[in-house]
């Protein structure tokens, strides 16, 4: 047995004790934030609940234009996430199963763009979009979405490469076109990769505040940018941060990403395993 080592009782207790301790360390910041988001406004932080005040959540949503920012976040994600996933799947399939001159070079290019600091292309793009009058619109996300993302192309390539050749050949003998083979055989088989890509992409897009900060103006900010730049302050003294509504907003803002993670956890485990380990 691989793990015969922890069959002894004292060792088992030690292992579980360690895991419990680590769970507390990793989980406690969440607990503290929730506890303090429910404490009375302006109170000092406490390690244990000192009250149960939903009002901080009301303040978090009403002190800034929360619904409008939320709408912008949703628009950006709705444009970018499905497009990126679809486009990356197409390119990943081509790199895994089709042949053409230049393929190796392009794939090398894709893997090297993964290490390019995004901001190196974003700033010239900003200057460019300014000339095209694209800034302060959502068009940039449409274009970026069509372009896919190198990381997901890589993930799909790994996934599609692992699918047996026989499936493809059988379909080809039946006279299926490549697009049909892709759509009816490969894409359904790649469901774990698709969920992994879509979930990861959503989490990036939802949390990305720097791109909207560059390309959009206040009224079109998504929640991430609004929380990072506007925040919650005392109306007559912007230096005083209102901790309880801030904590409440931090919690509200992370709920979608956590929910999506829980929903897609089992796919993520498969998808990441397939994408990363066979590397």
């Amino acid at each position: 047995m691989v793990n015969s080592g922890i069959n002894k009782l004292p060792l088992r207790i030690a292992v579980y004790g360690l895991i419990a301790l680590l769970t507390v360390i990793f989980g406690y910041p969440f607990v503290l934030t929730v506890v303090n988001s429910l404490n009375p406004l302006g109170s000092l932080p406490t390690l244990l609940p000192a009250g149960f005040d939903w009002n901080n959540y009301v303040l978090a949503v009403t002190m800034i234009e929360f619904p409008a920012f939320l709408k912008n976040s949703l628009i950006i994600c709705a444009i970018y996430v499905p497009l990126t996933t679809m486009s990356s799947a197409l390119a990943g399939f081509a790199f895994a199963r089709l042949h053409a001159p230049g393929k190796k070079l392009f794939f090398l290019v894709i893997t090297s763009t993964m290490m390019l600091p995004q901001i190196v292309t974003q700033i010239p793009t900003y200057i460019l979009f300014n000339k095209l009058d694209f800034n302060n619109t959502f068009y940039p996300w449409l274009l970026w979405g069509i372009g896919g993302a190198p990381f997901f192309i890589f993930l799909y390539k790994q996934f599609f490469s692992s699918i047996p050749k026989e499936l493809e050949e059988a379909a080809r003998i039946d006279g299926c076109s490549t697009l049909r083979i892709y759509w009816t055989i490969f894409l359904p088989l790649a469901t774990p990769a698709t969920w992994t890509a879509a979930i990861t992409c959503f989490q990036w897009t939802w949390g990305d505040f720097i791109t909207p900060f560059m390309f959009l103006k206040d009224e079109n900010y998504p929640l991430a940018t609004a929380l990072a730049t506007i925040g919650y302050h005392l109306p007559d003294n912007p230096n005083v941060v209102l901790q309880q509504p801030s904590s409440a907003a931090a919690i509200l803002f992370m709920i979608p990403t956590i929910a999506v993670f829980f929903f897609g956890q089992r796919y993520l485990v498969d998808g990441i395993a397939a994408g990363a380990v066979k590397g």
């Binding site: 691989v2 600091p117 274009l143 989490q203 505040f209 395993a273």
Partner: protein
Amino acid sequence: MMLQTKKWRQYGTFYAFVSPWLIIFITLGVFPLLYGLYLSFTNYTGFNMDKLKFVGFNNYKTVFEDSESIYALGRTLLVTAINVPLSLAIGLFLAILLNLKIKGLSWYRTAFYMPSVVPVVSTVLMWKFIFSGEGLLNTFFNRLHLPQVSWLGYEYATTALIVMLLWGAGSSLLINLAGLKGIPADLYEAAEIDGASPIRKFFTVTLPLMTHVLFLNLIMGSIASLQMYIQPILLTGKTLLDPPIKPNYLYLVHAFQQIFAFQRFGYGLALMWVLFIAILLLTILVFYSSRYWVYYETEQEV
């Protein structure tokens, strides 16, 4: 003849499939990249597009003569040198713990992985509160009768940043767990028959067979750490455009400042290109060295 057309057809299909990526990559990837490279050789400051002056390597010379950028580079290397190995070690340790066939694996996996799912804005809001003067960490220290610490002050700001970063060390957990599952059980059995202790098994079986996963984590972790600017700005800066406290003034923070606070686009872009090239060289070096310390079970097609 038939084969020839079939071949060309396949080429066409390949290019049709990659065309969305390729077109956008050329227009919104390659072109801005080269445009940025060009601007890094000019005195562009945001308003003078009409009378742009070519300044040669001046901006690049400034990168290496500017004491701020050298300082920022030093801090970045320091943070990376602490953050990356510790993250790697913690990520591997957590995975090994969870791979011990324990009950409730998925719950613990979720608990350790959760911090890396939280958007950075929320992470920083949480930790800023924990670290603040009358924050939770000091309240906690007070209970234990320990002295109060100014976590976000000059002395401890970098420690605070690294603690916050390490909280997310579980991000490599899923990859590590998958890697551990891929280690053939018969190797452990063989080691056991030879009477190897658990520690010896770790060093002779687990670690060598995890090198390809650790290698991936090392590359991705180092790149991310060298390019870090959002976390220090949000954690230890007043607003997005204010410089963070000096010890957390990292390299890309400096570039960000030059561009967004001072409109020195040319210089800022030169800073970024220097970093980009450094990362590229570093990655090539690590890739090259990997043949000496990374073990692959099958022949790799590179």
